[in-house]
Protein backbone atom coordinates (compact mmCIF):
# COMPACT_ATOMS: atom_id res chain seq x y z
CA UNK A 1 0.00 0.00 0.00
CA UNK A 2 3.03 2.28 -0.25
CA UNK A 3 1.40 4.06 -3.23
CA UNK A 4 -0.90 5.77 -0.75
CA UNK A 5 2.00 7.50 0.99
CA UNK A 6 3.06 9.04 -2.33
CA UNK A 7 -0.19 11.01 -2.57
CA UNK A 8 -0.10 14.77 -2.44
CA UNK A 9 -2.38 16.53 0.02
CA UNK A 10 -4.62 17.67 -2.85
CA UNK A 11 -4.89 14.14 -4.27
CA UNK A 12 -5.57 12.61 -0.87
CA UNK A 13 -8.22 15.23 -0.11
CA UNK A 14 -10.03 14.44 -3.35
CA UNK A 15 -9.81 10.67 -2.86
CA UNK A 16 -10.97 10.94 0.76
CA UNK A 17 -13.96 13.06 -0.23
CA UNK A 18 -14.83 10.70 -3.08
CA UNK A 19 -14.72 7.77 -0.66
CA UNK A 20 -11.96 6.05 -2.69
CA UNK A 21 -9.75 5.68 0.35
CA UNK A 22 -9.94 6.23 4.10
CA UNK A 23 -7.66 8.27 6.28
CA UNK A 24 -7.03 5.12 8.32
CA UNK A 25 -5.70 3.38 5.20
CA UNK A 26 -3.37 6.25 4.27
CA UNK A 27 -2.25 6.62 7.89
CA UNK A 28 -1.51 2.91 8.26
CA UNK A 29 0.45 2.96 4.98
CA UNK A 30 2.54 5.85 6.33
CA UNK A 31 3.13 4.07 9.64
CA UNK A 32 4.33 0.99 7.73
CA UNK A 33 6.71 3.07 5.63
CA UNK A 34 8.03 4.85 8.72
CA UNK A 35 8.81 1.53 10.40
CA UNK A 36 10.86 0.50 7.37
CA UNK A 37 12.78 3.77 7.21
CA UNK A 38 14.72 3.95 10.47
CA UNK A 39 17.91 4.23 8.39
CA UNK A 40 16.80 7.73 7.39
CA UNK A 41 16.75 8.91 11.00
CA UNK A 42 13.74 11.10 10.17
CA UNK A 43 11.10 10.08 12.73
CA UNK A 44 12.58 10.26 16.22
CA UNK A 45 9.39 9.77 18.23
CA UNK A 46 6.66 7.69 16.59
CA UNK A 47 3.04 8.13 17.67
CA UNK A 48 1.07 5.34 15.95
CA UNK A 49 -1.63 5.15 18.64
CA UNK A 50 -2.39 8.85 18.38
CA UNK A 51 -2.29 8.63 14.58
CA UNK A 52 -4.78 5.78 14.28
CA UNK A 53 -7.14 7.36 16.79
CA UNK A 54 -7.04 10.67 14.93
CA UNK A 55 -7.50 8.86 11.60
CA UNK A 56 -10.64 7.10 12.83
CA UNK A 57 -12.05 10.43 13.99
CA UNK A 58 -11.14 12.03 10.66
CA UNK A 59 -12.86 9.25 8.75
CA UNK A 60 -16.03 9.85 10.73
CA UNK A 61 -15.83 13.56 9.97
CA UNK A 62 -15.26 12.97 6.26
CA UNK A 63 -18.26 10.64 6.15
CA UNK A 64 -20.23 13.43 7.72
CA UNK A 65 -19.28 15.73 4.87
CA UNK A 66 -16.06 17.45 5.94
CA UNK A 67 -14.93 20.42 5.08
CA UNK A 68 -11.31 21.23 5.82
CA UNK A 69 -8.86 20.09 3.10
CA UNK A 70 -6.36 18.99 5.78
CA UNK A 71 -8.87 16.57 7.33
CA UNK A 72 -7.49 13.04 7.33
CA UNK A 73 -4.01 14.06 6.10
CA UNK A 74 -1.11 12.32 7.93
CA UNK A 75 1.75 14.65 8.82
CA UNK A 76 5.17 14.60 10.45
CA UNK A 77 5.84 17.28 13.05
CA UNK A 78 9.25 18.86 13.60
CA UNK A 79 10.51 18.19 17.13
CA UNK A 80 10.57 21.96 17.75
CA UNK A 81 6.78 22.04 18.11
CA UNK A 82 5.41 21.31 21.57
CA UNK A 83 2.93 18.46 21.39
CA UNK A 84 1.00 17.58 24.50
CA UNK A 85 2.15 14.41 26.23
CA UNK A 86 4.56 13.59 23.38
CA UNK A 87 8.32 14.18 23.73
CA UNK A 88 9.24 17.60 22.33
CA UNK A 89 12.90 18.28 22.88
CA UNK A 90 14.14 20.42 20.00
CA UNK A 91 16.64 17.61 19.34
CA UNK A 92 18.51 18.67 22.48
CA UNK A 93 19.74 16.57 25.37
CA UNK A 94 18.84 19.41 27.70
CA UNK A 95 15.16 18.63 27.08
CA UNK A 96 15.53 14.87 27.60
CA UNK A 97 12.26 13.52 28.88
CA UNK A 98 10.32 16.76 28.37
CA UNK A 99 6.66 16.12 27.60
CA UNK A 100 4.76 19.38 27.25
CA UNK A 101 1.52 19.87 29.13
CA UNK A 102 0.28 21.98 26.23
CA UNK A 103 0.03 21.97 22.44
CA UNK A 104 1.51 24.56 20.06
CA UNK A 105 -0.97 26.78 18.22
CA UNK A 106 0.12 25.45 14.80
CA UNK A 107 -0.39 21.81 15.74
CA UNK A 108 -3.64 22.65 17.55
CA UNK A 109 -4.93 24.19 14.34
CA UNK A 110 -3.86 21.15 12.31
CA UNK A 111 -5.49 18.66 14.71
CA UNK A 112 -8.67 20.74 14.86
CA UNK A 113 -8.76 20.57 11.05
CA UNK A 114 -8.58 16.77 11.31
CA UNK A 115 -4.92 16.18 10.36
CA UNK A 116 -3.04 13.17 11.72
CA UNK A 117 0.20 13.19 13.75
CA UNK A 118 2.50 10.33 12.73
CA UNK A 119 5.30 11.40 15.06
CA UNK A 120 8.09 13.87 15.70
CA UNK A 121 10.83 14.65 13.21
CA UNK A 122 14.57 15.03 13.56
CA UNK A 123 16.25 18.44 13.29
CA UNK A 124 19.38 20.31 14.26
CA UNK A 125 19.57 21.01 17.99
CA UNK A 126 17.42 24.08 18.74
CA UNK A 127 17.22 24.55 14.95
CA UNK A 128 20.87 25.64 14.89
CA UNK A 129 22.53 24.02 11.92
CA UNK A 130 22.33 23.45 8.20
CA UNK A 131 22.97 19.71 7.98
CA UNK A 132 20.97 18.04 10.80
CA UNK A 133 24.30 16.93 12.30
CA UNK A 134 23.86 18.75 15.64
CA UNK A 135 20.88 16.63 16.75
CA UNK A 136 20.97 14.66 19.99
CA UNK A 137 19.15 11.89 18.11
CA UNK A 138 21.94 11.52 15.53
CA UNK A 139 21.89 12.48 11.88
CA UNK A 140 18.87 12.54 9.64
CA UNK A 141 19.87 11.16 6.24
CA UNK A 142 18.93 12.34 2.76
CA UNK A 143 16.96 9.71 0.79
CA UNK A 144 18.88 10.90 -2.27
CA UNK A 145 22.34 9.61 -3.18
CA UNK A 146 24.75 10.71 -5.87
CA UNK A 147 24.57 8.56 -9.00
CA UNK A 148 26.71 5.44 -8.55
CA UNK A 149 27.86 6.44 -5.07
CA UNK A 150 26.38 5.38 -1.74
CA UNK A 151 27.87 8.16 0.39
CA UNK A 152 25.31 9.23 2.99
CA UNK A 153 24.23 12.81 2.27
CA UNK A 154 22.73 15.45 4.52
CA UNK A 155 19.06 16.32 4.06
CA UNK A 156 20.03 19.86 5.09
CA UNK A 157 18.91 21.62 8.22
CA UNK A 158 17.59 22.53 10.50
CA UNK A 159 14.35 20.85 9.32
CA UNK A 160 16.31 17.84 8.03
CA UNK A 161 13.98 15.16 9.38
CA UNK A 162 10.97 16.93 7.85
CA UNK A 163 12.72 17.10 4.47
CA UNK A 164 13.85 13.49 4.55
CA UNK A 165 10.41 12.21 5.61
CA UNK A 166 8.48 14.07 2.90
CA UNK A 167 10.98 13.22 0.14
CA UNK A 168 10.94 9.54 1.11
CA UNK A 169 7.12 9.46 1.16
CA UNK A 170 6.91 8.57 4.86
CA UNK A 171 4.19 11.20 5.27
CA UNK A 172 2.16 13.44 2.98
CA UNK A 173 3.71 16.64 4.35
CA UNK A 174 5.51 17.99 7.40
CA UNK A 175 5.83 21.11 9.48
CA UNK A 176 9.11 22.97 9.48
CA UNK A 177 10.48 26.16 10.96
CA UNK A 178 12.78 28.67 9.33
CA UNK A 179 15.04 31.17 11.10
CA UNK A 180 17.70 31.63 8.41
CA UNK A 181 16.73 29.07 5.77
CA UNK A 182 15.79 26.01 7.82
CA UNK A 183 12.73 25.16 5.70
CA UNK A 184 13.98 26.25 2.28
CA UNK A 185 17.51 24.81 2.33
CA UNK A 186 16.49 21.26 3.40
CA UNK A 187 13.55 21.34 0.97
CA UNK A 188 16.05 22.22 -1.79
CA UNK A 189 18.42 19.41 -0.75
CA UNK A 190 15.73 16.73 -1.08
CA UNK A 191 13.64 18.05 -3.98
CA UNK A 192 10.45 19.14 -2.22
CA UNK A 193 8.62 22.45 -1.73
CA UNK A 194 9.33 24.52 1.38
CA UNK A 195 7.54 27.75 2.27
CA UNK A 196 8.57 30.29 4.89
CA UNK A 197 5.61 32.62 5.36
CA UNK A 198 5.72 36.36 6.12
CA UNK A 199 6.87 37.01 9.69
CA UNK A 200 3.70 37.10 11.78
CA UNK A 201 1.58 34.99 9.44
CA UNK A 202 1.88 31.85 11.59
CA UNK A 203 1.79 31.82 15.39
CA UNK A 204 5.04 31.02 17.17
CA UNK A 205 3.25 30.04 20.38
CA UNK A 206 4.34 26.62 21.62
CA UNK A 207 7.28 26.40 19.20
CA UNK A 208 10.61 26.22 21.04
CA UNK A 209 12.13 29.66 20.43
CA UNK A 210 15.50 30.13 18.72
CA UNK A 211 15.57 33.76 17.47
CA UNK A 212 12.16 35.26 18.05
CA UNK A 213 12.39 38.11 15.52
CA UNK A 214 13.32 35.68 12.74
CA UNK A 215 11.55 32.37 13.53
CA UNK A 216 8.57 31.41 11.41
CA UNK A 217 6.89 28.05 10.89
CA UNK A 218 5.75 26.81 7.50
CA UNK A 219 4.76 23.80 5.41
CA UNK A 220 7.14 21.33 3.73
CA UNK A 221 5.22 19.56 1.00
CA UNK A 222 5.43 17.62 -2.26
CA UNK A 223 3.91 20.38 -4.38
CA UNK A 224 3.31 24.13 -4.37
CA UNK A 225 -0.43 23.54 -4.23
CA UNK A 226 0.00 21.45 -1.10
CA UNK A 227 1.99 24.27 0.51
CA UNK A 228 -0.93 26.60 -0.20
CA UNK A 229 -3.44 24.19 1.31
CA UNK A 230 -1.40 23.47 4.43
CA UNK A 231 -0.46 27.11 5.05
CA UNK A 232 -4.15 27.96 5.01
CA UNK A 233 -4.65 25.81 8.09
CA UNK A 234 -1.40 26.72 9.87
CA UNK A 235 -1.86 30.50 9.48
CA UNK A 236 -3.98 32.89 11.45
CA UNK A 237 -4.01 35.37 14.30
CA UNK A 238 -3.21 34.06 17.75
CA UNK A 239 -3.67 36.26 20.82
CA UNK A 240 -0.94 34.21 22.54
CA UNK A 241 1.72 35.41 20.08
CA UNK A 242 1.90 39.20 20.24
CA UNK A 243 3.73 39.30 16.89
CA UNK A 244 1.10 37.26 15.05
CA UNK A 245 -0.72 39.49 12.59
CA UNK A 246 -4.40 40.17 13.10
CA UNK A 247 -5.29 40.14 9.43
CA UNK A 248 -7.49 37.78 7.43
CA UNK A 249 -6.03 34.58 5.99
CA UNK A 250 -6.90 34.44 2.29
CA UNK A 251 -7.64 31.24 0.37
CA UNK A 252 -4.08 30.56 -0.79
CA UNK A 253 -5.07 27.66 -3.01
CA UNK A 254 -7.55 29.84 -4.87
CA UNK A 255 -4.71 32.27 -5.59
CA UNK A 256 -3.06 29.61 -7.76
CA UNK A 257 -4.53 30.48 -11.14
CA UNK A 258 -1.68 29.41 -13.38
CA UNK A 259 -1.65 32.88 -14.92
CA UNK A 260 1.41 35.05 -14.23
CA UNK A 261 1.19 37.26 -17.32
CA UNK A 262 2.22 40.80 -16.52
CA UNK A 263 4.05 39.88 -13.31
CA UNK A 264 7.46 41.43 -12.82
CA UNK A 265 10.21 39.16 -11.52
CA UNK A 266 13.42 40.69 -10.21
CA UNK A 267 16.83 39.04 -10.61
CA UNK A 268 19.14 40.50 -7.94
CA UNK A 269 22.65 40.94 -9.29
CA UNK A 270 24.23 40.66 -5.83
CA UNK A 271 23.17 37.00 -5.60
CA UNK A 272 25.57 36.17 -8.43
CA UNK A 273 28.37 35.17 -6.08
CA UNK A 274 32.02 34.81 -7.08
CA UNK A 275 32.77 31.21 -7.84
CA UNK A 276 29.12 30.21 -8.20
CA UNK A 277 28.99 26.69 -9.71
CA UNK A 278 28.03 26.72 -13.38
CA UNK A 279 25.11 24.35 -12.83
CA UNK A 280 23.57 26.69 -10.23
CA UNK A 281 24.03 29.62 -12.58
CA UNK A 282 22.33 27.69 -15.39
CA UNK A 283 19.48 26.54 -13.13
CA UNK A 284 18.87 30.16 -12.22
CA UNK A 285 18.87 31.51 -15.79
CA UNK A 286 16.71 28.58 -16.93
CA UNK A 287 14.23 29.47 -14.17
CA UNK A 288 14.11 33.07 -15.36
CA UNK A 289 13.47 31.86 -18.91
CA UNK A 290 10.61 29.65 -17.72
CA UNK A 291 8.91 32.56 -15.97
CA UNK A 292 9.47 34.78 -19.03
CA UNK A 293 7.94 32.14 -21.26
CA UNK A 294 4.93 32.02 -18.92
CA UNK A 295 4.38 35.71 -19.53
CA UNK A 296 6.30 37.41 -16.73
CA UNK A 297 8.62 40.33 -17.23
CA UNK A 298 12.18 39.68 -16.02
CA UNK A 299 14.13 42.67 -14.71
CA UNK A 300 17.58 43.06 -13.16
CA UNK A 301 17.45 44.56 -9.70
CA UNK A 302 19.96 45.52 -7.04
CA UNK A 303 19.81 44.61 -3.35
CA UNK A 304 23.04 46.35 -2.36
CA UNK A 305 23.30 45.19 1.26
CA UNK A 306 23.02 41.49 0.46
CA UNK A 307 26.62 40.67 1.37
CA UNK A 308 26.03 41.94 4.90
CA UNK A 309 23.05 39.67 5.55
CA UNK A 310 24.99 36.70 6.91
CA UNK A 311 27.16 38.70 9.33
CA UNK A 312 24.03 40.58 10.47
CA UNK A 313 22.25 37.29 11.03
CA UNK A 314 25.17 35.89 13.02
CA UNK A 315 24.87 38.79 15.45
CA UNK A 316 21.09 38.97 15.78
CA UNK A 317 20.26 35.25 15.85
CA UNK A 318 22.83 34.31 18.53
CA UNK A 319 21.89 37.39 20.57
CA UNK A 320 18.24 36.38 20.63
CA UNK A 321 19.16 32.73 21.17
CA UNK A 322 21.31 33.54 24.19
CA UNK A 323 18.30 35.24 25.74
CA UNK A 324 15.74 32.58 24.73
CA UNK A 325 17.92 29.69 25.85
CA UNK A 326 18.53 31.20 29.29
CA UNK A 327 15.43 29.30 30.39
CA UNK A 328 17.27 25.95 30.16
CA UNK A 329 18.73 26.06 33.62
CA UNK A 330 17.87 22.67 35.09
CA UNK A 331 15.08 24.04 37.26
CA UNK A 332 11.75 23.78 35.45
CA UNK A 333 12.14 21.10 32.81
CA UNK A 334 14.54 18.73 31.17
CA UNK A 335 17.99 17.72 32.26
CA UNK A 336 19.70 18.67 35.53
CA UNK A 337 23.35 17.76 36.05
CA UNK A 338 24.35 15.61 39.01
CA UNK A 339 25.95 17.92 41.52
CA UNK A 340 29.06 17.39 43.61
CA UNK A 341 29.22 17.95 47.35
CA UNK A 342 29.16 21.68 48.02
CA UNK A 343 27.92 22.70 44.55
CA UNK A 344 25.53 25.64 44.65
CA UNK A 345 23.02 26.98 42.19
CA UNK A 346 25.63 28.54 39.88
CA UNK A 347 27.42 25.20 39.50
CA UNK A 348 24.03 23.62 38.82
CA UNK A 349 23.38 26.05 35.96
CA UNK A 350 26.87 25.76 34.53
CA UNK A 351 27.11 21.97 34.64
CA UNK A 352 23.54 21.46 33.41
CA UNK A 353 24.07 23.71 30.41
CA UNK A 354 27.51 22.26 29.60
CA UNK A 355 26.07 18.73 29.64
CA UNK A 356 22.75 19.53 27.98
CA UNK A 357 23.77 21.82 25.11
CA UNK A 358 25.78 20.53 22.17
CA UNK A 359 28.85 22.32 20.82
CA UNK A 360 27.11 24.46 18.19
CA UNK A 361 24.41 25.61 20.61
CA UNK A 362 27.02 26.47 23.26
CA UNK A 363 29.00 28.41 20.67
CA UNK A 364 25.99 30.45 19.56
CA UNK A 365 24.79 31.13 23.10
CA UNK A 366 28.25 32.40 24.01
CA UNK A 367 28.61 34.52 20.85
CA UNK A 368 25.19 35.98 21.64
CA UNK A 369 26.21 36.65 25.22
CA UNK A 370 29.34 38.40 23.98
CA UNK A 371 27.62 40.69 21.44
CA UNK A 372 25.08 41.73 24.07
CA UNK A 373 27.61 42.25 26.85
CA UNK A 374 28.46 45.65 28.29
CA UNK A 375 30.74 47.61 25.97
CA UNK A 376 29.91 45.58 22.85
CA UNK A 377 26.14 46.03 22.61
CA UNK A 378 26.42 49.12 20.41
CA UNK A 379 29.35 47.93 18.35
CA UNK A 380 27.76 44.60 17.45
CA UNK A 381 24.09 44.25 18.30
CA UNK A 382 22.86 47.77 17.56
CA UNK A 383 24.99 48.02 14.44
CA UNK A 384 23.54 44.72 13.20
CA UNK A 385 20.00 45.97 13.82
CA UNK A 386 20.79 49.08 11.75
CA UNK A 387 22.18 47.01 8.89
CA UNK A 388 19.10 44.82 9.13
CA UNK A 389 16.96 47.92 8.56
CA UNK A 390 19.02 48.65 5.42
CA UNK A 391 18.62 45.08 4.16
CA UNK A 392 14.86 45.37 4.54
CA UNK A 393 14.91 48.78 2.81
CA UNK A 394 16.62 47.21 -0.22
CA UNK A 395 13.63 44.90 -0.62
CA UNK A 396 11.09 47.66 0.07
CA UNK A 397 12.61 49.76 -2.73
CA UNK A 398 12.56 46.84 -5.17
CA UNK A 399 8.89 46.16 -4.46
CA UNK A 400 8.04 49.87 -4.68
CA UNK A 401 9.67 49.93 -8.11
CA UNK A 402 7.12 47.39 -9.30
CA UNK A 403 8.73 44.01 -8.67
CA UNK A 404 6.19 41.33 -7.71
CA UNK A 405 8.65 38.59 -6.72
CA UNK A 406 12.38 37.94 -6.74
CA UNK A 407 14.04 34.84 -8.18
CA UNK A 408 17.31 33.50 -6.69
CA UNK A 409 19.06 30.18 -6.22
CA UNK A 410 17.93 28.43 -3.01
CA UNK A 411 21.32 27.08 -1.95
CA UNK A 412 24.94 27.54 -3.06
CA UNK A 413 25.31 23.78 -3.75
CA UNK A 414 23.41 20.51 -3.86
CA UNK A 415 23.34 18.29 -0.74
CA UNK A 416 26.80 17.51 0.64
CA UNK A 417 28.02 14.42 2.44
CA UNK A 418 27.36 13.90 6.14
CA UNK A 419 30.61 14.62 7.97
CA UNK A 420 32.11 16.51 5.02
CA UNK A 421 31.99 19.80 6.88
CA UNK A 422 33.23 18.37 10.18
CA UNK A 423 36.63 20.03 9.95
CA UNK A 424 35.44 23.28 8.40
CA UNK A 425 35.28 26.38 10.57
CA UNK A 426 31.74 27.31 11.69
CA UNK A 427 31.54 30.16 9.20
CA UNK A 428 31.85 27.70 6.28
CA UNK A 429 28.67 25.94 7.42
CA UNK A 430 26.92 29.31 7.84
CA UNK A 431 27.44 30.03 4.11
CA UNK A 432 24.69 27.50 3.34
CA UNK A 433 22.20 30.19 4.29
CA UNK A 434 23.63 32.89 2.05
CA UNK A 435 20.59 33.07 -0.28
CA UNK A 436 17.88 32.43 2.31
CA UNK A 437 18.86 34.49 5.34
CA UNK A 438 18.02 37.88 3.79
CA UNK A 439 14.37 36.82 3.67
CA UNK A 440 14.20 36.25 7.43
CA UNK A 441 15.97 39.52 8.17
CA UNK A 442 13.40 41.35 6.03
CA UNK A 443 10.42 39.32 7.36
CA UNK A 444 9.35 38.31 3.84
CA UNK A 445 7.74 35.14 2.50
CA UNK A 446 10.08 32.85 0.57
CA UNK A 447 9.57 29.50 -1.12
CA UNK A 448 11.99 26.97 -2.52
CA UNK A 449 10.87 24.98 -5.55
CA UNK A 450 12.82 22.06 -7.02
CA UNK A 451 13.56 22.71 -10.69
CA UNK A 452 16.28 20.29 -11.73
CA UNK A 453 19.00 17.75 -10.99
CA UNK A 454 22.71 18.44 -10.83
CA UNK A 455 25.28 16.41 -12.84
CA UNK A 456 25.49 13.94 -9.95
CA UNK A 457 21.75 13.36 -10.01
CA UNK A 458 20.87 15.40 -6.92
CA UNK A 459 17.94 17.82 -6.64
CA UNK A 460 18.52 21.54 -7.06
CA UNK A 461 16.05 24.32 -6.32
CA UNK A 462 15.29 27.96 -6.89
CA UNK A 463 13.90 30.41 -4.38
CA UNK A 464 11.15 32.93 -4.97
CA UNK A 465 10.79 35.83 -2.55
CA UNK A 466 7.46 37.65 -2.28
CA UNK A 467 6.02 40.84 -0.86
CA UNK A 468 4.88 40.84 2.76
CA UNK A 469 1.49 39.10 3.18
CA UNK A 470 1.38 38.20 -0.54
CA UNK A 471 1.92 34.47 -0.10
CA UNK A 472 -0.97 33.86 -2.51
CA UNK A 473 0.73 35.71 -5.34
CA UNK A 474 4.06 34.09 -4.45
CA UNK A 475 2.52 30.60 -4.53
CA UNK A 476 0.93 31.34 -7.90
CA UNK A 477 4.28 32.34 -9.40
CA UNK A 478 5.96 29.36 -7.70
CA UNK A 479 3.45 27.00 -9.22
CA UNK A 480 4.13 28.41 -12.69
CA UNK A 481 7.82 27.70 -12.13
CA UNK A 482 7.00 24.21 -10.85
CA UNK A 483 4.84 23.46 -13.87
CA UNK A 484 7.40 24.78 -16.35
CA UNK A 485 10.28 22.93 -14.69
CA UNK A 486 8.28 19.70 -14.70
CA UNK A 487 10.36 18.33 -11.84
CA UNK A 488 9.10 14.83 -10.99
CA UNK A 489 12.27 13.01 -9.88
CA UNK A 490 12.13 10.78 -6.80
CA UNK A 491 14.97 9.16 -4.88
CA UNK A 492 15.60 5.43 -5.51
CA UNK A 493 14.77 3.48 -2.43
CA UNK A 494 17.82 2.07 -0.59
CA UNK A 495 16.53 2.22 2.98
Amino acid sequence: MSELTKLTIAEARDKLRAGDVTSTEITQACLDQIDQADALGAFVHKTPEIALKQAAAADARIQGGAENPMCGIPLGIKDLFCTQGVPSQAASAILDGFKPEYESTVTTRLWQAGSIMLGKLNMDEFAMGSSNETSTYGNAVNPWRRTGDDTALTPGGSSGGSASAVAADLCLAATGTDTGGSIRQPAAFVGITGLKPTYGRVSRWGIVAFASSLDQAGPMTKTVRDAAIMLGTMAGHDPRDSTSADIPVPDFEAAITGDIRGKTIGIPREYRMDGMPADIEKLWSDGADMLRDAGAKIVDISLPHTKYALPTYYVIAPAEASSNLARYDGVRFGHRAKLAQGDGITEMYEKTRAEGFGAEVQRRVMVGTYVLSAGFYDAYYNRARKVRALIKRDFDLAFEAGVDAILTPATPSAAFGLGEMADADPVQMYLNDVFTVTVNLAGLPGISVPTGLDPQGLPMALQLIGKPWEEGDLLNIAQSLETAAGYVAKPSRWW
Partner: protein
Amino acid sequence: MSIDIETARRVAKLARIKVEEDALPALAGEFNAILGFIEQLNEVDVEGIEPMTSVTPMRLKRRIDEVTDGGYQEKVLANAPDAREGFFAVPKVVE
Protein backbone atom coordinates in the same frame (compact mmCIF):
# COMPACT_ATOMS: atom_id res chain seq x y z
CA MET B 1 38.81 42.86 18.23
CA SER B 2 40.57 39.69 19.25
CA ILE B 3 39.24 37.40 21.92
CA ASP B 4 41.81 36.08 24.37
CA ILE B 5 41.47 33.16 26.73
CA GLU B 6 40.50 35.42 29.59
CA THR B 7 37.61 36.90 27.56
CA ALA B 8 36.46 33.43 26.51
CA ARG B 9 36.42 32.40 30.18
CA ARG B 10 34.41 35.49 31.12
CA VAL B 11 31.86 34.94 28.32
CA ALA B 12 31.39 31.29 29.34
CA LYS B 13 30.79 32.45 32.89
CA LEU B 14 28.26 35.07 31.77
CA ALA B 15 26.48 32.42 29.68
CA ARG B 16 26.51 30.03 32.66
CA ILE B 17 28.17 27.26 30.65
CA LYS B 18 31.00 25.34 32.27
CA VAL B 19 33.99 25.23 29.92
CA GLU B 20 37.07 23.28 31.04
CA GLU B 21 40.36 25.19 31.11
CA ASP B 22 41.88 23.10 28.34
CA ALA B 23 38.94 23.86 26.04
CA LEU B 24 39.26 27.64 26.32
CA PRO B 25 41.96 28.22 23.65
CA ALA B 26 39.93 26.41 20.97
CA LEU B 27 36.81 28.29 22.03
CA ALA B 28 38.62 31.63 21.80
CA GLY B 29 39.76 30.62 18.29
CA GLU B 30 36.19 29.88 17.20
CA PHE B 31 34.96 33.19 18.63
CA ASN B 32 37.66 34.97 16.67
CA ALA B 33 36.62 33.27 13.42
CA ILE B 34 32.98 34.23 13.94
CA LEU B 35 33.69 37.76 15.13
CA GLY B 36 36.14 38.26 12.26
CA PHE B 37 33.28 37.43 9.92
CA ILE B 38 30.98 39.86 11.74
CA GLU B 39 33.59 42.66 11.53
CA GLN B 40 32.45 43.25 7.91
CA LEU B 41 29.51 45.17 9.32
CA ASN B 42 31.91 48.01 10.15
CA GLU B 43 32.11 48.78 6.41
CA VAL B 44 28.44 49.77 6.27
CA ASP B 45 27.45 53.41 6.58
CA VAL B 46 24.69 53.33 9.19
CA GLU B 47 24.66 57.07 9.88
CA GLY B 48 21.12 58.19 10.71
CA ILE B 49 19.63 54.68 10.48
CA GLU B 50 17.36 53.58 13.32
CA PRO B 51 18.04 50.07 14.64
CA MET B 52 15.21 47.76 13.60
CA THR B 53 12.84 46.88 16.43
CA SER B 54 10.05 45.21 14.46
CA VAL B 55 10.35 43.72 11.00
CA THR B 56 6.69 44.27 10.16
CA PRO B 57 5.38 47.72 10.95
CA MET B 58 2.85 46.78 13.59
CA ARG B 59 1.82 48.14 16.91
CA LEU B 60 1.76 45.52 19.61
CA LYS B 61 -1.72 44.73 20.81
CA ARG B 62 -2.80 45.83 24.22
CA ARG B 63 -5.26 44.23 26.54
CA ILE B 64 -6.65 44.75 30.01
CA ASP B 65 -4.07 43.79 32.64
CA GLU B 66 -5.88 40.90 34.21
CA VAL B 67 -5.29 37.22 34.87
CA THR B 68 -6.42 35.19 31.85
CA ASP B 69 -4.76 31.88 32.52
CA GLY B 70 -3.39 29.77 35.33
CA GLY B 71 -4.49 27.60 38.22
CA TYR B 72 -2.58 24.47 37.26
CA GLN B 73 0.37 24.15 39.57
CA GLU B 74 0.68 20.41 38.95
CA LYS B 75 1.06 20.87 35.21
CA VAL B 76 3.66 23.58 35.71
CA LEU B 77 5.69 21.30 37.96
CA ALA B 78 5.14 18.10 35.96
CA ASN B 79 8.43 18.34 34.03
CA ALA B 80 10.64 19.64 36.85
CA PRO B 81 13.79 17.60 37.58
CA ASP B 82 13.09 18.15 41.30
CA ALA B 83 9.72 19.37 42.57
CA ARG B 84 8.69 19.14 46.18
CA GLU B 85 5.60 20.22 48.07
CA GLY B 86 4.33 22.26 45.17
CA PHE B 87 7.59 24.08 44.47
CA PHE B 88 10.65 23.81 42.24
CA ALA B 89 13.55 22.57 44.37
CA VAL B 90 17.09 23.89 43.83
CA PRO B 91 20.36 23.76 45.78
CA LYS B 92 20.59 26.13 48.72
CA VAL B 93 20.87 29.72 47.45
CA VAL B 94 21.42 31.67 50.69
CA GLU B 95 23.87 30.82 53.44
